[in-house]
């Protein structure tokens, strides 16, 4: 019969066990109770761990016995296991000799203690109905253990065994439903462990890679990708313990969006990872067709526009005979509108390259100040038209830069021509290149005293085709693409753009570009840089 203390212990015991699925941890829990309830010298647990296919031995000493004493206790356990080998999992007993050093808990050994094993008992350890090892409890005293003690320990071990069996079968069912979920996903899913071995690939992944379901080295898979180093990405993902996406990865003529994610166990430790392959071959093909279409379409659009341009110019230059004043005025309107149309074609082409993510960044050693100055010179006729003054301020230390000159021209040109476009007569435009407000950035600042942007529309100026209400009618020659293109470029090169503006008091645009320069990006096409008229 159980006494009161034992009953309480059994109650809390099952609660404690519910938190563990690891056999080693479970033994710790079991021993914690036996330690409290039973008077013994040494307890040795030797259990077979299915996960790494070997025996794990734990020694708990309540008394400072000698190593020899512990060895005697261990021998009792081993002998018992060998005797019952037929009940053990296949091959388990042959691994008993490969046992790693036992884990020691409790009181330290004392080599000088001459005490020997005087009394002992052995109890089999089972998980569910599977015999997995044994426990031997010994004492330096004669006749130390009563039959009740043996029953109590048996009871604890039985409860532990049943509890673990339940949790394991639950996990197995979770695992098998996870596996069938993975199998049913139309994306390719590849799971791997910490040893970089593939543990499961679903149907789709097998089809994409031509590799089997499991059991091969991860490198077999990663070397299939021709345009990326997937293995390095996987290492990075596990190192940083975060998922990483690769937008375009190629296996022969097929394209995939790849996600790499670390996989954790119930203790939140990373135990491997998963690779998800999403087939985007069709999308890439459509993109390519679109790029080619846009390129050819813009060629077709420019052809009649260049003819209109040249013939209008030929009429305007007077070589075809004198023009009436109105004729001249009308031809100038045709010319101006046509030039806007040409600009629009260039902007549309750029916007489309940005949308398709296909524009290239080709950085070179350049002179930032020289680029700005040449653009301001190009603006000269427009400055004169409105009698505008440009005040330039440059930090000489920032002259040398490693950047794509075309992209920088687009940035500067758009901001400067906007400043001119929205300035009133006799205004001043300030342009400066200076140290950024963040230490690793260069700041380009363009300030005008013109129309400004209404507060509630400031958040929209970088959206495609947007034009603020207060300029739609007063300054009709804008296509609403300039700032969208500038923002896209600035962000693509690792910078940032923002603004301050007050209606009727002017606008300041701030652009940060990274001091270290721009990173090369091989795209199919560079953006169009149009010369100011």
């Amino acid at each position: 019969m159980l006494n009161g203390l034992e009953k309480i212990a059994l109650n809390t015991f099952s609660d404690d066990l519910a938190k563990t699925i690891d056999l080693g941890e479970a033994i710790d829990v079991v021993n914690k109770y036996i330690w409290e309830l039973l008077n013994y010298s040494v307890a040795v647990y030797s259990v077979y761990n299915y996960q790494d296919s070997r025996f794990e031995t734990r020694v708990y000493s309540k008394e400072a016995v000698s190593d020899k004493y512990i060895a005697q206790t261990k021998k009792i356990v081993d002998d018992f296991i060998i005797e019952n080998a037929s009940k053990m999992p296949v091959g388990a007993v042959s691994s008993i000799t490969k046992k790693p050093a036992p884990l020691l808990f409790g009181i330290h050994t004392d080599v000088n203690n001459p005490a020997e094993v005087r009394s002992s008992f052995v109890i089999p350890v089972a998980i569910g109905s599977n015999f997995v090892g044994a426990l031997c409890i010994t004492s330096t005293q004669n006749f130390n253990f009563k039959p009740d003690d043996v029953d109590l320990v048996s009871l604890f071990l039985k409860i532990a065994g049943i509890s673990i069996a339940r949790i394991q079968s639950f996990l197995q069912s979770v695992n098998s439903s996870t596996e069938s979920l993975i199998q049913s996903i139309s994306n390719g899913v590849i799971m791997f462990d910490n040893q970089a071995k593939v543990t499961l690939a679903n149907e789709a992944a097998m089809r994409y890679t031509g590799l089997p379901k499991e059991g091969y080295d991860l490198k077999e898979l990663t070397k299939l990708f021709t345009n990326i180093n997937l293995f390095a990405t996987i290492e990075e993902s596990l190192d940083k313990s975060q998922s990483i996406k690769i937008p375009r990865a190629q296996i022969s003529q097929f394209w995939y969006e790849v996600a790499v994610l670390p996989v954790r166990n119930y203790n939140s430790e990373i135990i491997g990872g998963a690779i998800i392959l999403h087939d985007i071959t069709h999308v890439v093909e459509v993109d390519k067709a679109k790029t080619e279409f846009v390129s050819l379409a813009s060629h077709q659009l420019r052809t009649p526009l260049s003819a209109i341009r040249w013939y209008t110019e030929l009429l305007l230059d007077g070589t075809q005979g004198p023009l009436l004043e109105d004729q001249k005025k009308f031809l100038e309107v045709i010319n101006e509108s046509n030039l806007r149309m040409i600009e629009l074609v260039g902007s549309l082409l750029n916007a489309s390259r940005i949308e398709l993510g296909t524009f290239a960044i080709d950085p070179k050693d350049i002179d930032l100040i020289e680029i700005s100055k040449s653009l301001i010179v190009e603006l000269e006729p427009y400055l004169k038209e409105k009698n505008l003054k440009v005040v330039e301020r440059y930090d000489e230390n920032l002259r040398k830069y490693f950047g794509d000159p075309g992209l920088l021209r687009i940035i500067f040109q758009n901001l400067l021509s906007n400043a001119v476009k929205y300035s009133l007569e006799n205004n001043t435009v300030n342009f400066s290149i200076e140290e950024g407000t963040e230490s690793n950035m260069i700041l380009i600042k363009v300030h005008d005293e013109g129309l400004g942007i209404p507060k509630k529309q400031q958040g929209m100026v970088f959206t495609k085709l947007f034009r603020a209400d207060n300029v739609k009618t007063s300054v009709p020659d804008g296509n609403g693409l300039g700032l969208y293109i500038v923002k896209s470029i600035v962000e693509e090169v690792g910078g940032k753009i923002w603004l301050e503006s007050e209606e009727d008091h002017g606008t300041t645009f701030f652009v940060h570009i990274p001091k270290v320069g721009m990173k090369e990006k091989k795209g199919s096409k560079p953006l169009e840089v149009t010369k100011l008229r």
Binding site: S295, S298, H299, R302, T303, L305, S306, A307, R309, W310, Y311, E313, L314, D317, T319, I342, V345, L349, A360, S524, K525, P526, E528, T530, K531
Partner: protein, 124 residues
Amino acid sequence: MTETKQILIIEDEKPVTYALDEVLRGHGCALISTTNGQEGLALALKLHPDLIVLDMIMPIMDGPATLENLRRDEWGKNAKVLILTNLTDDEKKKKVLAMGALGYIVKSDISISELGELIQKLLV
């Protein structure tokens, strides 16, 4: 009296040819024109013009192919060629510049008077 310079225009868009004729005529230039690369190549090799103005997209033989064939010829390998097109394809641009074209001009981005001046400059 300066010597008349011969310019071969290989271009399938008639309005382009007429406009060039308009600005270059009377400036000591004689214009010959054709609308495809194959004929243009034959004319170039026969007449050895002082300058060839070459379009990129044309029927039968396009600009890059014409230039490539031209460069195989003993005279043609050093002939002056200016690309005049509305195609803005960076790869093709790099390709023709690598084959020694003197410039790659996008028609819609240049005024006819600037183009006339540029061509005269190239003839010197």
